[in-house]
């Protein structure tokens, strides 16, 4: 045993000597004279090519400041100053132009049979409350939101810098705080109407005939339940678009929470901006059809009741259901006018 360990030690010693000699030979050249201090140094362009971001270590508590360079901000800038303006301008002005053309061609869609004088309950007080809660906050959120993108070009020139700044600061706070009321409205709307908003066979027919909107023929309205396919599309856009607006919006309200980076914030703004302007243009069409575009439609959300003939023309399947319920002992539904 002792002999073996002696032998091992000898071999190890011999190997070590060989290494030392080998290295001594290698270092006879003056190595330091040739060293380029920059050879191993980090290069800006290399780092940018790799990740398009340069991050290091800093000594202050604000960890965001450890990002030295983040040129992606320039792409976001192009989105915000060019693309969003085009997407928003085209979708909103385009929708307005379409509605004007449609109105000039079709006019206000009349109740074909005229008013019957009998009314039927369309929306309960609670449904109307939820609708107007969502609607009123949406209008304010829309205006204050568009101000951030379009205000500088459209309002600033005639309001002047200080007045525009004061208005914009208020608009920002209003936008942030009213978002909660809007959120509640969308959630209630989702729960309240989801039962009537699943696609049915009637919707396919309704869509095929364009909702009867593009024909002036008598009896052109395709049948529908409480909500027609157009209203269902609106419902799902409001619910899903509303959720998209909430998620991206709350990311913007709580900046950098839970490890959000600048890139995440930029994405949230892009998402919020695109969905927002599409939302506004869709709601413009909704407002048009609910007021100017159709005789007898506004009272559904205004007073909660609609004329029976209007209901029969636009939502015959729903009316049949309601009337059947009314004939059964516990269902109200039909309201006779006081006189």
């Amino acid at each position: 045993m002792a002999r073996l360990s002696k032998r091992v030690r000898f071999i190890a010693g011999a190997l070590a000597l060989m290494f030392v000699l080998a290295f001594a030979g290698a270092t006879t050249r003056p190595a330091f004279a040739q060293v380029d201090p920059n050879a191993a140094a980090v290069k800006e362009q290399q780092l940018l090519d790799k990740l398009n971001v340069i991050q290091g270590r800093g000594t202050i508590p604000d960890t965001k400041s450890y990002v030295l360079e983040h040129p992606a901000g320039r792409d976001w800038r192009v989105f915000h100053t060019v693309w969003l303006k085009w997407i928003g301008g085209l979708s909103i002005l385009g929708m307005l132009a379409l509605l004007v053309v449609f109105y000039l061609w079709r006019g206000s869609i009349p109740i074909e049979e005229g008013r019957s004088g009998r009314k039927i309950i369309r929306f309960t007080a609670f449904e109307r409350f939820v609708h107007w809660l969502t609607a009123s906050t949406f209008v304010i959120l829309g205006i204050t939101g568009l101000n951030i993108t379009f205000g500088r070009a459209l309002i600033l020139p005639w309001l002047g810098p200080s007045a525009f700044s004061a208005w914009s600061e208020w608009a920002k706070y209003v936008h942030n705080y009213l978002s909660f009321a809007f959120t509640i409205g969308v959630v209630l709307m989702f729960l309240m109407w989801i039962g009537q908003n699943f696609p049915t066979a009637a919707d396919v027919e309704w869509l095929k005939r364009g909702g009867g909107m593009f024909t002036k023929k008598h009896g052109g309205h395709p049948p529908a339940w409480k909500f027609n396919a157009g209203q269902k599309i609106l419902y799902w856009f409001v619910v899903l678009g509303g959720v998209a607006m909430m998620i991206s919006g709350y990311m913007l309200i709580f900046p950098f929470y839970g490890g959000l980076t600048v890139g995440d914030m930029q994405l949230a703004e892009i998402f919020h901006g695109i969905v927002g302007v599409l939302f506004v243009s869709l709601i413009l069409a909704h407002i048009y059809l609910g007021t100017l575009g159709m005789e007898g439609a506004f009272e559904a959300m205004g007073e909660g009741t609609v004329d029976l003939n209007w209901a029969k023309e636009h939502h015959p399947l729903w009316v049949e259901d309601e009337l059947a319920q009314e004939r059964s002992p516990k269902g109200p539904g039909l309201v006779t006018p006081a006189e």
């Binding site: 380029d36 980090v42 508590p61 800038r77 205000g151 600033l156 700044s165 920002k172 709580f254």
Partner: protein, 198 residues
């Protein structure tokens, strides 16, 4: 007029953070805000470099482009400044800035960031040069006194250069040719759309 720029010679920066301290002291910057900072890349590895970074006073500045209330302006010396009276604290300039320069006094939510603060190239703000209001909002206006930014003026290794772009590039190029290497002008491509050949 001059075209004011910053140039940090990363081969000289020793990460002493004197520029950061000088800036904070000169402008009495509140806690939590750092107009200038030093970032170390490849920390502890061969080829480690430190770069002192603040607002680069970009050509065609992204912050100014995205500001919803147009509170930014560029001086005759090409210094990018802003008005704290007009700023609404929306945070967009920080999202657009490639250098993370804009800072906000509060980290609160609901958009309550307060008025944005950033490096002024020691050139104050829209108020009268050297006035009390200007000092309280933006800090000292050294440029109006004929002095250059303090961070660069007191840099112990003269790594950080501030001044007319043509002049500081000349100084940097002379250094590079004399010592035989240089890692380039960090951020110049992004800020000024030009590089300094080394």
């Amino acid at each position: 007029m001059a075209r004011m720029k910053f140039l940090c010679d990363a081969d000289r920066c020793i990460e002493c953070n004197a520029c950061v301290t000088a800036c904070k002291n000169e402008h009495e910057i509140p806690w939590g805000i750092n107009r200038r900072r030093v970032v170390t890349l490849n920390d502890g590895k061969p080829g480690e470099r430190s770069v002192s970074m603040a607002c680069m006073h970009c050509t065609d500045a992204p912050c100014a482009a995205v500001c919803p209330v147009n509170c930014f302006y560029t001086t005759a010396d090409a210094v990018v400044l802003h008005s704290k009276d007009l700023c609404i604290g929306c945070g967009y300039c920080f999202y657009a800035c490639p250098f993370g320069a804009p800072q906000y006094p509060k980290t609160g939510n609901f958009g309550s960031r307060g008025k944005m603060d950033k490096c002024t190239f020691c050139a104050g703000g829209p108020e009268a040069d050297g006035s009390k209001e200007e000092y309280e909002k933006y800090g000292a206006n050294r440029l109006a006194e004929g002095k250059l930014p303090l961070c660069a003026e007191m840099c112990s290794t003269k790594s950080l250069l501030a001044g007319d772009g043509d002049v500081i590039v000349q100084i940097y190029k002379e250094r590079v040719s004399k010592r035989g290497y240089g890692s380039g002008a960090w951020g110049w491509q992004t800020a000024y759309h030009e590089t300094v050949a080394t």
